[in-house]
Symmetry: C2
Amino acid sequence: VTDGNVNLLYRQRLNRYFAERGAEIAIHVMPPGESQKSMESLVNIFDAIERFGIRRYSDPIFAIGGGVVTDTVGCAAHLYRRGTPHIRIPTTLVGLVDAGIGVKVGVNFRNHKNLIGSYQPPMISVMDRKFLATLPLRHVRNGMAEIIKIAIVCDSSLFDILESAMDELLDERLQTDLGFRVIDHSITAMLEQIRINPWEHELRRPADFGHTFSPRIEMDSNGSLLHGESVAIDMALCCGIALRRGLLDDVSASRIVDVLISAGLPLCHKLSTPPRLCRALEDTMSHRDGWQHIFLPTAIGRGVFVEDISVDDIEESLRWVCELCDTGGLK
Amino acid sequence: VTDGNVNLLYRQRLNRYFAERGAEIAIHVMPPGESQKSMESLVNIFDAIERFGIRRYSDPIFAIGGGVVTDTVGCAAHLYRRGTPHIRIPTTLVGLVDAGIGVKVGVNFRNHKNLIGSYQPPMISVMDRKFLATLPLRHVRNGMAEIIKIAIVCDSSLFDILESAMDELLDERLQTDLGFRVIDHSITAMLEQIRINPWEHELRRPADFGHTFSPRIEMDSNGSLLHGESVAIDMALCCGIALRRGLLDDVSASRIVDVLISAGLPLCHKLSTPPRLCRALEDTMSHRDGWQHIFLPTAIGRGVFVEDISVDDIEESLRWVCELCDTGGLK
C-alpha cells in the first residue's frame, strides 16, 4: 500500500525489486493527504486485500509512504483477521522519526485526529533516508518539527546540533553524515520514550509535547497545515506559557523559537484563537482521561507536567507568539 | 450499548439501576441481528460515544446483549481512543458461554464472518443467567451448540450431563442447579482453551471445532441460520469425516449426533453443498495461514487435527449426514 506521490516516483523500482525476488505482489494506491487517514481508507484496504488474497501470518502488508500511509495501513493490518503482519517503509521525515517507529496506528474520525486506532508494532521498519532526496522541502521542515520536539523534551545535545546546522540539514535533506546522526539521535530518543510506556498506561507522555492544541488546529485547517507545522505552533504556545510562568528562562525560550524559525516552521496561525485552543484542550483532556497533562519545558531537554493552564495563560502566550511572528524571532 | 430486543425487555430496569447509583449514562440501541455486526455499527457507536462524551480510561462502555452486541462493542471499545474499557453483560446463552468470555472482538466484512477485529479482554464480564429466562427457546438451543462443542472437544463429563438431561436443561432454560453446573463447566473449559492460546499464535485451536465450514454457511444464509445452528451442521459433517476415516467409533458418533438432535439443532441444510463447503474450507485456510487444521473428534472429549480433508471426504460425510436427517438419528 502506498500513496499517489510515492507510486509516481517509485513504482517501477518497487515492481522491479519484488519481481527480481520472485515475490507476487499487488499494489494498492491511496490518494495522498491527511484526509485519506479515514475509516473509508481502511475499507478500501480491506477490499484490496480480499481481491489479492493473503494468508493470515505469512503474507505481510507493506506500508510505503508517509505517516498517513503507515498509520492507516498499520491499523488495517491490525484489524484484518485480527492481525496480519505489516512492514513499514517510511518515505518522509515524519515517517522516519515518528510515525514509522511507534506502535500507535489509527485513522482520523469526524475531524478528530487519530480518534480510532490501536497499538500494533510493525514486523519490520525499513529506515532508508534516501527517500528524503525526493521529498518536497516543506515536508522536510514538517518532519524537522518532530525532531525539534524530541530534542526539546529529552535530548539537549541533539538540540545543539539542530541549532548550529539547521540550514545545512535542510539544504542537504539530511543526506550527509550529520543528517544521519540527527535522524539516529531522534529515533533513539523517541524509541526510549515508547519503550518505557508503549501502551500509554501513563498518560503523561513527554513525547506529546506539541500535541495538546495541535490536533484541533491541524484538523480545522483542512489540510492547509501539515502535522509538524501545527505541532510547531503548539510548541511555541507552550513555550510562551512556560516563559510567562517563570518555568523557562528567556534565553532557552529564545533558542527554541529561533530553531523553529530556522526550520521554516510557523509559530502562529489565524486558526490559533483562544476559543479554538480551549476547545482543543478540552478534546485532549478527554483523551488524557480528564487531565491536562501539559508538558512545559523548563530547559532544553527537560520539562514538567502542569494541570492548571487557564484561558489567561493561553491568551497571554498567544500575544507573545504573535509579537514574535511580527518581529521574526526574539532577537 | 444494547440491542432492540434487550432494550424492550430491560430498559426500565437498566435506567433504574444506574439512576439509583447516580451514574450518568447514555443508551445506544443497535437493531438486533447478525447483519448489525458491521463496520457501519462501529461508526454508529463511535458517533454515540462522541455525542455523550467519555474520558479515556474512567468511563467504561457497557455491552449488554448477545454475541453480536458484545463482539461489536468490544471492537468499538478497542478502537476508540486506542482502547476504552468495556464491560460485557451477556444476555444470551451464546454470550454467556462463548462471546462474553473470550478476548476476540470484531465485526463481519463483505459477507466474511469476523474478518475485521482484534483481541480485547473486557474489564469485567457479568455472568447473569437470569437473562436466559426471557430468551426465545431457539436461542437457548443456539447457545447449546457451543456447550456441546466444548464438551466434545475437551470435557466428556459435561457431555454426559448434556446427554442425560438435555430436555430438562432446555425446558428450564438452564435456571436449575444442573443448568448452573452446565454453564459453569462450559465456561471453565472454554477459558482454559483461551488461557493457553489467547492471541492465536497457535492456529490449531480445538475450540474452533465446528467453525471450519460454518462461517460461510452462516453468512450465506443471510440470517436464516443462527451461529450455533451452522456450528452444529459443521460438527455433524466433521463427525461423519472422522467416522469414515476410522478415527471415531460408531457409538461415539451416534452419541454426538443424538445430543445435537436432542438439542433441536440441525445436522444439515440446503446450503451445505460440496462446492460451498470447499469454498468455506478455502476461506478458513487463509485464516489458518494456509493450513486446514481441522479438528476431528477421536472420542468424546478428545480429537486430532488433520490437514488432508478432500472433496471426497466432504461428499461422503454429507451423504451420511443427509441419511441421518431423513431417519432422525443413528438409532
